[in-house]
């Protein structure tokens, strides 16, 4: 390695290191608040006339005392465990329903030619542009007033699963298209029924795409908070995002609970994200090219 190359690498490491620090600083800060054991936004109390050193200490992402109290409290004292449970149920059922709806529809769009196929796919695309705010009032009327599904899991699950359909269908269809038709044709020769082909041949072959669909549906259910806050007005029915906002929104400022809760909520999504990011990106760009 030449000296000049070495020097560029050092410079690069410096720049990248500084930027990475900037990028993860807010995350370190949330960790600090979570482990501080207190509810305040500040890490240390500043003296009346703080010097630069005091201030430097106050921006350093390290708590004055390390404590797990916030985690314990948020799961036992506050109804957060309940909200987490609600979110888990909602996201889990959304995943199941979303994957089922998307796989069946995408398979039909990919393999069959039937009247309405083009129209259907175009409609799915256009529906992606419907602004959420236009749908909220009608959805509220349908789900809460007509179907009486306010404060229930079912109301949120069907809305989440259905709104995730267009993206999932387009992505899955792209993947199904790459599976050679010959496999199915030979299966038909061997006497396989359409259901066997779908469940035993196509779905296993499309595993990566199904995984992304599942992740996307799960994230929709796990992270959404606007519809959840409109549909769920009883505190026991809140989902985790609505609950987290409840900690620091309006006039309450329980930053410790918020931080601890945020970490608990983020862990599964971040883990899933890292596990599946490769697929997620290819799915997004594939959808982007066509969309």
């Amino acid at each position: 390695m030449s000296a000049a190359e070495n020097r560029t690498h050092v410079m690069l490491h410096l720049a990248l290191g500084a930027f990475t620090l900037f990028a993860i600083y807010p995350i370190l800060w949330v960790l600090t608040l979570a482990f501080s054991g207190g509810q305040s936004l500040v890490v240390v109390d500043l003296p009346a006339d703080p010097g630069a050193l005091d201030r430097l200490r106050s921006v350093l992402p390290w708590p004055k005392t390390l404590s797990l109290q916030n985690f314990v409290d948020v799961l036992t004292q506050e109804p957060f465990a309940r909200w987490l449970f609600n979110s888990a149920i909602v996201a889990g059922l959304t995943t199941l329903l979303g994957v089922f709806l998307a796989c069946t529809a995408a398979y039909a769009f990919s393999r069959f030619r039937f009247p309405g196929r083009r129209t259907g796919m175009m409609m799915f695309l256009v529906s992606q542009m419907f602004p959420g705010t236009l749908m909220m009032v009608p959805l509220f009327i349908i789900i809460v007033k007509w179907l009486h599904l306010g404060n229930t899991y079912a109301g949120l699950v069907i809305v989440y699963a259905v709104t995730a359909i267009p993206f999932c269908v387009w992505m899955l269809k792209g993947y199904f298209d790459t599976i050679p038709v010959e496999i199915e044709e030979s299966a038909i020769m061997d006497g396989a029924t359409p259901a066997t082909i779908f469940f035993r041949i196509i779905l296993p072959l499309a595993k990566p795409a199904v995984a992304v669909t599942a992740l996307f549906s799960f994230m929709t259910g796990w992270n959404e908070f606007i519809l959840a806050s409109i549909f769920m007005d009883e505190e026991t029915a809140y989902t985790a995002p609505v609950g987290l906002r409840f900690f620091v929104g309006g006039f309450s400022s329980q930053w410790g609970y918020f931080a601890a809760g945020s970490i608990i909520v983020s862990l599964p999504v971040v883990a899933l994200f890292y596990y599946l990011q490769k697929y997620l990106i290819s799915g997004l760009t594939a959808g982007g090219v066509k969309g």
Partner: protein
Amino acid sequence: MTPRSLLAQPVALGLVLGALAAALLSEWFFMQARDELLADRQQRAVVMQAMALGDQVAAAEAGEASEAGVDRLAGVVQHWSQRFADIASIRIVRSADATLLASTDANDAGPFPRRLAREEKALYDLGQTLRANAETNAAEGVFRKKQLDVVRLDRTRLRVAAPYTVDGEVRGFAQVQQGVPAAPIRPDLGRAALVIGLPVVVFALAMMAWRRRGARAPPAVELGLAAVLLAGALYGQSTAGLRELADRHQAYAAELAQTYNAIRQAFDATASLTGAVAGGDNRWDVDEYLRPLGVIGGDGSLQRAALDATLDIRENHLRRSLWSAAVLGAGLLAFIGLGYGRRLRQTLVEHRIAYGYVTPAIAGMLVLVFFPFVYGVTLSFTDTTLFNENLSLRELWIGLKNYAVILGDFHVVRGTDGDWVVNYQNFYWTLFITVMWTVCNVAIGVSVGLVLALALNTKGLRFSNVYRVLLILPWAIPNYITALTWRGMFHKQYGVINQMIQIFGGEPVSWFDTAFTSFLTGIVTNGWLSFPFMMVITLGGLQSIPQSAYEAAYVEGATRWQQFRHITLPYLKPTLIPAIIISVVWTFNMFNIIYLVSGGEPAGSNEILITQAYKIAFEKYQYGYAAAYSVVIFMLLLVYGVFQNRVTRATEAIA
């Protein structure tokens, strides 16, 4: 003519199916209406009890010797539960100081009054909620929050809590749990069978008569006859059903008037204990916002005009539903009668496997995406708000007025020369902010992402995987958490960012107080959130560039910049352009960041279109106006979509 040969005729089949659908749907609507009527009757009976008791408590509390008055409450409650056998329990709670004044609930241990126990916190919370709701409504001058707590324990048991007010302040509540009479409500299937059977039989007879004369009726006559028969049957059904509803309405009102009289007697009998005065009006028969209904007068007489008005509202509501059922029936008749049914059936049978697969998804999309969309667009032509929701859309129809107000108001800047203010609520201002917001964010995302990707792609750079994993984190974390975190960091007094500024001797900035700094908070947060996506996309694109291209350039003596300009960028284009297109749409609609970080502060100057539409709908409750606003957003995105399609086609053609 056998039934089989009759059903082979499209018109007859259409008549059967149309009548079946319309008649059953109408019966279902009738059943719903009866159910609602019964629920209303049950609720009002208990509400009157709770309200009357509330008046007693208020009088007892307000009396001179208030503690003695409170003691006498036990007598009132006793008297009440002896007189009304269907009352299961009564609780009087003064939530202002968390005291249970009286209770006949078997689970509540005496003696009363006593402080609420820890596990009875729900009662205290209920009192606080009722007080907060009353104050909210009074402060806003509207009826938005419910001021009564009505809980349906099951079909025949209700629990109602009514607040009592002393010196203009909600001090606590009276809670009554009561059994309410309920006969099971079933659809009138006999009537439905008649509505379906009669036109079909008449139609069949007419057809037979025609055939006996040796000719077939012309199709137009057949269809016309079927339509007339269907309309007649449905008209009969709706007249009968509406009359029954009116009778029930009248009967329930009479029953409620009796209940009122009984409560009034109980009230007068116990008034001496607390010094309460009933007054001339009926203040106990109220809706959930404590507004007197005025149907039953103070002396227990029925007020004809008010009674008819409440019936009118119910009837109009029901009529609209009945019309939709009739339209459905007529539509089915026309569709099948004109022969489309057969063709549709053939197509469905031919492609049954494909349709089987798509049906679940399509059905869901129709109900929860396309129907809401159509409904929303319809709303945009009305001036529906939270407060006139019960009126029909036809009465609220205002045509294009919402659009004219949104798009036709060009007064972005007000005031005379030198001294002007921006009208932040103006659509064009919000559009300007939205465009600025989108352009800035996408520019930051792309440039930061590109630079980072190039840096990480440097050959032989160690730890590049570590950097990559850490730099993706902002994307992996749910964005509402990010937004709330940054909101905390921008806090004026305690936020970390101001602390940093002070390290370098600067003054703390109140970030959300001026339009520019508030805009910056959004940009920083969203920039932080969106660069990883672009970085990852670019890294993927960089990997597809063949090394030989650079080697050739090196041999030709190209500079670093020339390599970047003529090799890297052109190769990246097919990956970058779709990513940019998609992130433009994402940023344009990035609700969470604006809503959670700055909330559009100050004075709505930083709203983007989507958050503005949300606020109009859910903070100002102007549903119609918000819908029109959203339709405008949709149109902008649609135009962008068409434009984007052209661009991608063009780039594909070049590539």
